[in-house]
């Protein structure tokens, strides 16, 4: 495919980036590992690409029980950071199960959270896709739908979110800092994503000029030793999840007092399994309880012709993840 040229501008400061980012047709580039693929595939054609990679937003800090990660920190730096590896092994492990070493050296945390769906119609050409070309139809719904979502879809779009890190960060109640034309704000990461509805072209709640500056994860010590990210994939490495589950349990006196279950690969955004989480509360961990959590997780799933297997896979993955972390410690 041929891709139209774009102007390149290097942001000199956060404010400068925002000012440029507000302009119509501009796009931020951080590591570029997703943006450039999309550009080469003809999916996106920005008039101006604003390079934010040199902004001073790559600090990683772990103090006062709070982990702060600059949005421009490279995935490889985060995974290798001593404090992350020590206090947040779940984050480190999840990153190391994402993409490849080369890509992690380039990819940033902010870019990872904002990477776009892997739907092959979205990244294709000459095929319908409402997300790429609003109103053209959804090719995946009646076509190649193995990747498609089971939950949260709309008539317009059935695509999944591909980020591993987002699944885990949402399980850890992460927040993000955003700066934009209207100033700075902090929101829960879960509020960043939106369901496709009638407007699938819009993945997030960000508006033009909004720059993610950092990610904040508060104390998760109560889950220590009882957190896992289960990623099921078609090959052993360098591949997105078919289905994934981030699970965390807080067990006191042999009883589950808090739980987190978030699934990836099955919805347009990291999918919180609230019913299963709630059911677990007050229960003594056992295989039977974990099976029940798996059964609840799949309620309401809406499969298409090729992705029905993900229902069983999700159920089994929830069980396996809970079993992995729910045993005697």
């Amino acid at each position: 495919m041929t891709s139209p040229p774009f102007r390149y501008a290097r942001a000199t400061s956060v404010d400068n980036a925002i000012a440029k980012g507000i302009c119509n047709g501009s796009a931020f580039i951080a590591g570029g590992t997703d943006l450039l693929q999309l550009w080469k595939a003809g999916v996106t054609a920005p008039a101006e690409v604003v390079d934010i990679s040199r902004l001073p937003l790559s600090e990683i800090d772990c103090s006062n029980d709070t982990l702060t990660i600059g949005a421009l920190a490279r995935l490889s730096s985060v995974a290798a950071h001593r404090d992350v590896a020590m206090h947040h092994p779940l984050i480190a492990d999840t990153i190391l199960a994402s993409a490849s070493g080369q890509i992690r050296n380039m990819a940033t945390v902010g870019g990872n959270l904002l990477q776009r769906t892997r739907c092959v119609y979205f990244r294709g050409q000459d095929v319908p896709c409402n997300k790429r070309q609003p109103g053209s139809g959804c090719g995946a719904r009646d076509g190649v739908s193995r990747q498609a979502a089971l939950f949260g879809t709309s008539a317009a779009c059935v695509a999944t979110n591909a980020s591993d890190l987002a699944v885990v960060l949402i399980a850890l109640d992460a927040e993000i800092n955003i700066q934009g034309g209207a100033g700075a704000r902090r929101v829960c990461l879960s509020e960043l994503y939106r369901l496709p509805g009638d407007t699938p072209a819009q993945d997030t709640t960000l508006v033009a000029g909004d720059l993610i500056t950092g990610v904040i994860v508060r104390n998760v010590a109560r889950f220590a030793g009882r957190m896992t990210y289960l990623k099921v994939r078609d090959r052993a490495s360098f591949e997105f999840a078919v289905v994934s589950v981030a699970a965390a349990l807080h067990i006191e006196n042999g009883v589950i007092v808090e739980s987190r279950l978030v699934a990836g690969g099955i919805a347009p955004l990291p999918w919180r399994l609230t019913q299963s989480e709630t059911m677990l509360l007050g229960k003594v961990p056992s295989d039977a309880v974990f099976v029940a959590a798996g059964d609840l997780a799949i309620q309401g799933a809406q499969p298409l012709s090729e992705n029905g297997f993900k229902i069983e896979l999700l159920r089994n993955s929830v069980f396996r993840a809970l079993q992995t972390i729910g045993g005697a410690s």
């Binding site: 041929t2 990244r123 000459d126 095929v127 090719g139 078609d234 090959r235 052993a236 490495s237 297997f309």
Partner: protein, 725 residues
Amino acid sequence: MSDRSVPRYEAALKVTGRAAYEGEVPAVGLLHAALVEVPIARGDVVAVDASEAERTSGFATMVSYADAEPLKPSPATALIRDRAVHFAGQPVALVVADTLSAARDAARAVRVTTQARPSVTHMAQALNTAYVPAMVGRFPSVSNRGDATAALADADRVVRHRYETAANIHHPLEPHAVVCWWEGDKAVVHTSTQAVFGTRAMIAHAFNMPPADIRVISRLLGGGFGCKGQLWWPWMFLAMLAAKKTGRPVRLELTRAQMFRLVGRRQETVQDLALGFSTNGCLTGIAHHVTAQSSTHAEYSDATAVYTRYLYACPNVTTSHLLVRTNEPQPVPMRAPGTAPGLFALESAMDEAAVRLGFDPVDLRVRNFADHDQEAGRPWSSNSLRDCYCIGAERFGWARRPAQGTAVDGRWRIGWGMASTMYPAIRQAAKVRVQLAADGAVLVQCGTQDMGSGTYTALGQITADALGVPVDRVTVELGDTVLPDGPFSGGSQVTASIFPAAAAATAKLRATIAAMAIADEASPLAGQRLDDLEFRDGSIRSRSGNVGEPWANVLARKGTEGLEAEGESGATQHPDLTATSMGYGAVFVEIGVNAGLGEIRVRRVCGAFAAGRILNPLLARSQYVGGLVGGIGMALHERTETDRATGRMLGETLADYLIPTHADMPEFDIALIEEDDPHLPGSVKGIGMLGTAGIQAAIANAVFHAVGKRVRSLPIRIEDVLGRR
């Protein structure tokens, strides 16, 4: 390690990044090319309008069917001479400009008007149009030995199933590229091809010019696997037309996405296979019927069921091949053509039969070993398949195979499986020229090419051995039509083909030097008997007389500038053969299935291969391992996706089209079983295809062994084996 394990001739160039590929050849005034594609899957081009493109900066020219029309009609020019559109994403024009991005900008500005017509985007939509091609490769499409229908009706046990294989893409790392220019009426074409002489012949035909006026050069290839052949020619011709039109050199390189569509695929197959047995485990009847995809602009069928005619002893065998034309890209041979999909079916069914009959899978195969070629009714030139079973089983520890469904490792359910592999050993005509300089340096030349599989190394080694010099004295030149005619690189036949030609050339040189020495009063060998002389350690020596001298001295005293000789050898004459030649192998695998999650990972592979004499164990091992990795890909990962509504291929990137990563490759234990074969020059058989076939069935059989589920469709994925926790 054997002293025959010589490292790659071009290893240092490649690992230091200095290896220059043909697409990198510099040329003054070079123009860059981009292809203009159309979205429709079937129809006609009404108009190609370049008026807007002409205004883009750097634009040089556009060529389309109007420019290609004067080319002579042939399958190689059909796609570019006609206005017909046969598949979605088909190029209809080529634009050249000063830079690559200018060419791409210009290509985007070309306006193509098309008239779409109803298309067939999958075999399943047109099964009623299936037809029998005349031939599948060099074999008849249909075969009947005995009466398979009656035998299957009478059999004590029948295993009858449908097997399916997905379309795969070759994906050599180096994409197809050409840098070409015209010098008056003569053409110089640097291109990545598996056949420099075949390419020259097609250019000569298409452009109606003498072959001598065309030079095709392909000195290094970054892989081929079967796709650097005929389907590349139309796009290369467009580049040549643009070079002619502009009078400037032109460079075209395919994008990775175009490699999914424009240069071939392993065809999709649906195979109905029935095996009939007597209760004592002997095959009594086999029926293997294949339906496969071909395009609407060319015809190709793998010899998928052909090997079912040979592998086992069975009096009643019927096979057939059908093709269904669709508006999808055209298939071509891909590494282990025919054997990879065909043996998946046959060797899966044999495993099912072993379970049904209560035989060990290895024993059942040994029991049905074919001690001669039953199809042609003649002996094998050599056949060590039983040694492959035996040695492979021994090294793998097959005797300790756990009962089906019992082995676990943590949460992984473990399965073992095995299968056979085979491939015909044939030769093409070849010429090899060897030059000796007065200082003893050796130059060997052949116009075949090295796909990356080791042809430089093998030819250098053969020559060095024959002349009794170390390999580093030998310079090897390949991949150029100014060199002696060499074979195309395909069908695992290059080494076997050039061996006798090199042997003939070096034999002539040895005879000349020996005669010179005997006749030379100044030589310590003066007056020695010719048949007593040998070439060793750079010298010519008398075996009995214990005298000798460096053979370069013989040349030097005569004041010759050097010597030169050419050797020639012929292609396999199939009708005249007194014996059938094939290479064989047995592959054993251990896989794990992540219980309840369906992930399948290969944990251990042992391949035992018997394919004549091994010239270089290091190269052979690398060929087998590479082949096995490709086979793992076909078994577990590789599958093209097509949107049936539009006919458009989806996921045209290596992020979407999965192939094995290093983490998917276990350790490979390779047993090289050497054979003497009196029917073959130097006992050399091809080896490149063997590893790529067989392992698919071995993996499927191991999956059954692990989880009790038969998967008869490739690739085997999570959804196929997902069971309850």
